[in-house]
């Protein structure tokens, strides 16, 4: 038992048991682990970048995949890559970028593993044009509790394949996967910044860049009220190539985030001040385009080791939800609720999802407006707020993201994932998680 295994939001104080296979065949150790611990259920654990309890298994044990991080094959001509599931996206990027390739979809951290990216069917700033990570997986292997490793792809055993994409690790332990990379000619991006006020302005910026920009995302102020309500900074970007012309005179460092502050200093005044500073730091009215390294564009928070510690040992909740097209007013209502609660954080991210379907049966991204934000854990008040938000998301026909969640009730889960019944037959009989026990109850 060790407390080494925690989720990113410090969701639980419960200790986790784990086996650490160094070679894929050692996953077979599980009968031994069962015998030793007198329990059955297991769950793959990568680098603990899920925020809630979907990566924990207090009643059973974890299969720590961090040592299963070898490349299997990398074709520099075609951009096809195969690797063991415990490899991190960062390790993949370090290898493929010099060869002129890039991940087809990047979540917010390069420390997530390949297996985790598949099990959560992660999305990125290019969802509106490219869809989710799972769309680029050409093949994967799942170790089932009957001792068999099943190879599946969109063409063979596609039922298990589709269940495993976004399947939260419940179809078995993903041991390896193959991926189509995308070609790039530079590790830099041309990033355009536009300020906006209100969701309407955001929507017009977002729809305006659908055809012109591969990446788009917005930072949203969820503290300010009155005339500053729902203000933000919209970012749209493309990989840099020879054709890009930049107004480099405007290039300058982005504002630093005061993360060295002790967590006690994080309150509504400092967060409000941060939000204002961030907004004001982006030149008023007219847009500007700057050149940014891929790391600072895709993974700004990775630059701050263990940034989750700023919330102190009590940790924090993250809530990420999507409301369907046409329900923008619901998002506005929810935002008002968050603003008036004073619980809003400084890291609120707004993104319009596109219509491209994922193969994953339990995939979270779907057309609509998606907002992600942190709440420092202030006990009951925070829980009440999130429950209230969840109720409205459900009424609006939206969904919340399991990878960020530790409160979702079973009825919400069923409402958010209408293909659950197709998924259930593929759940490995001896796979489970804290999240799964809650939502399947």
């Amino acid at each position: 038992m060790t407390d080494k295994y925690r989720s990113w939001g410090f969701a639980t104080a419960s200790r986790q048991r784990a086996i650490v296979p160094r070679w894929a065949p050692e996953i077979e150790q599980f009968p031994k682990a069962q015998e030793q611990w007198g329990n059955h259920s297991r769950l793959a654990f990568g680098r603990g970048r899920s925020y809630g309890d979907s990566c924990l298994n207090s009643a059973g044990y974890l299969v720590d995949t961090s040592a299963l991080s070898r490349f299997i094959h990398f074709d520099r001509e075609t951009g096809n890559l195969s690797a063991e599931a415990g490899i991190t996206l960062g390790q993949i990027l370090d290898l493929v970028i010099p060869a002129g390739w890039f991940l087809p979809v990047s979540p917010g951290t390069r420390y997530a593993t390949l297996g985790g990216a598949i099990a959560n069917d992660v999305h990125g700033k290019n969802h509106h044009v490219d869809g989710t990570f799972g769309r680029f997986v050409s093949r994967l292997s799942v170790h089932r509790s009957n001792g068999q490793t099943v190879d599946c792809s969109p063409r063979s055993r596609s039922d298990l394949f589709n269940a495993t994409i976004g399947g939260l690790g419940l179809t078995g332990v993903i041991t390896r996967a193959s991926l189509h990379l995308i070609p790039i000619t530079s590790d830099q991006l041309a990033v355009r910044f536009d300020r906006f006020r209100g969701i309407d302005q955001f929507m017009s910026l977002s729809s305006g860049c659908h055809d012109s920009h591969q990446y788009s995302v917005a930072w949203l102020d969820c503290v300010s009220r009155g005339k500053n309500f729902a203000r933000g900074v919209f970012m749209s970007a493309n990989h840099l190539d020879e054709r890009t012309t930049l107004d480099l005179t405007r290039t300058r460092k982005r504002i630093g985030i005061p993360f060295s502050l002790p967590s006690r200093i994080l309150n509504k005044y400092t967060i409000g001040a941060f939000n204002s500073a961030y907004y004001l730091a982006h030149k008023p009215r007219h847009a500007r385009t700057v050149c940014q390294h891929y790391k600072s564009f895709f993974y700004p928070l990775d630059a701050i080791g263990n940034w989750n510690r700023i919330y102190g040992t009590r940790g924090f909740h993250q809530y990420q939800f999507v409301v369907p097209p046409g329900a923008e007013s619901v998002l506005e209502t929810l935002l008002k609720k968050i603003v008036s609660s004073g619980a809003g954080s400084f890291l609120a991210v707004l993104k319009e999802f596109g219509t491209i379907k994922s193969p994953g049966l339990l995939s979270f991204p779907r057309p609509g407006l998606c907002l992600a934000l942190d709440f420092a854990d202030r006990g009951d008040a925070t829980v009440q707020l999130i429950r209230a938000l969840d109720l409205q998301v459900r009424e609006a026909g939206g969904a919340a993201y399991p990878a960020k969640d530790r409160l979702m009730p079973a009825e919400s889960f069923r409402a958010y994932f209408p293909r659950l019944n197709e998924f259930l037959p593929h759940v490995d009989p001896e796979s489970s998680s804290d999240f799964w026990r809650r939502v399947s109850g």
């Binding site: 894929a24 070898r70 299997i72 890559l81």
Partner: protein
């Protein structure tokens, strides 16, 4: 002119860096760094499946890899093994076992097996490789010994004595080969978090190093002029103290 140069160049192209025990965690971490430098690696290990997966990883990283599956305990096959590998420029010895000390205390066969793998077999390969390098007047040999070889401890002397003997053997070999321009680097790592030590409780945590850290230190030492490397560095003063404790006192300590 260029074509002549190309025809003469292959002295380097034919030779390779040989890694004995290539599937050990430390060997894998080291091989990745050697591969990044564009060196040609020849991996030798007993388990074919693991060997293939390590080779695939290094190939994907762009390295040029050869492999030979071999049980290095089989000393009578060492000549044949080295013949099949061909010209050696540099070789690293990573293999070894951590025997069950208590079992060894009651079972000579267990002790003999551990001594055979950890010392005799390596000494056999060293003897043959040394002559090959000496005849060409160049080369590098890196041998992973252990801090456990610096003093006989009641709790771990079977492993320790083999590693100690290995360090002594390397010291002699170094002095013999120095005039031939062949360098011998003895590495004495402390506690490393690897499968070999998976069952050992990792306390105190500060003394346990990752294979990557130790590999980094070894690569630096490889590029320098060091003869003996303690890694991480703090093991040098620690072992200095441990070696200097009088035996009379040491007997009373349960180390």
């Amino acid at each position: 002119m260029a074509s002549v140069a190309i025809r003469e160049a292959p002295t380097d192209a034919k030779t390779s860096v040989v890694i004995f025990g290539a599937t050990s965690a430390l060997a894998q971490a080291t091989a990745r760094q050697l591969a990044e430098r564009g060196l040609r690696l020849h991996l030798v290990a007993r388990n074919a499946e693991k060997l293939a997966s390590v080779a695939a990883d290094l190939s994907a990283r762009g390295a040029s890899i050869n492999t030979t599956q071999a049980d290095l305990d089989q000393i009578d096959q060492h000549d044949q093994l080295l013949d099949s590998i061909g010209g050696i420029e540099e070789c690293w010895f990573f293999y070894g076992v951590l025997p069950d000390q208590q079992q060894c205390e009651i079972d000579w066969q267990a002790t003999a097996t551990a001594l055979h793998t950890n010392f005799t077999s390596t000494a056999s390969l060293l003897t043959r490789v040394a002559n090959q390098l000496a005849s060409r007047n160049r080369g590098l040999i890196v041998v992973v010994s252990s801090v456990a070889g610096d003093r006989g401890r009641g709790s771990n002397y079977v492993y320790g004595s083999a590693k100690g003997a290995l360090a002594l053997f390397c010291q002699g070999l170094r002095n013999r080969l120095a005039p031939h321009g062949v360098r011998v680097l003895t590495v004495k790592p402390g506690f490393i978090d690897t499968p070999m030590t998976a069952h050992v409780e990792k306390k105190p945590a500060a003394l346990w190093a990752t294979p990557e850290r130790v590999a980094n230190d070894m690569l630096k030492a490889r590029d320098g002029r060091r003869d003996v490397l303690y890694t991480p560095w703090f093991w040098q003063p620690i072992m200095c103290v441990i070696r200097s404790i009088p035996e009379r006192v040491f007997k009373g300590l349960s180390l």
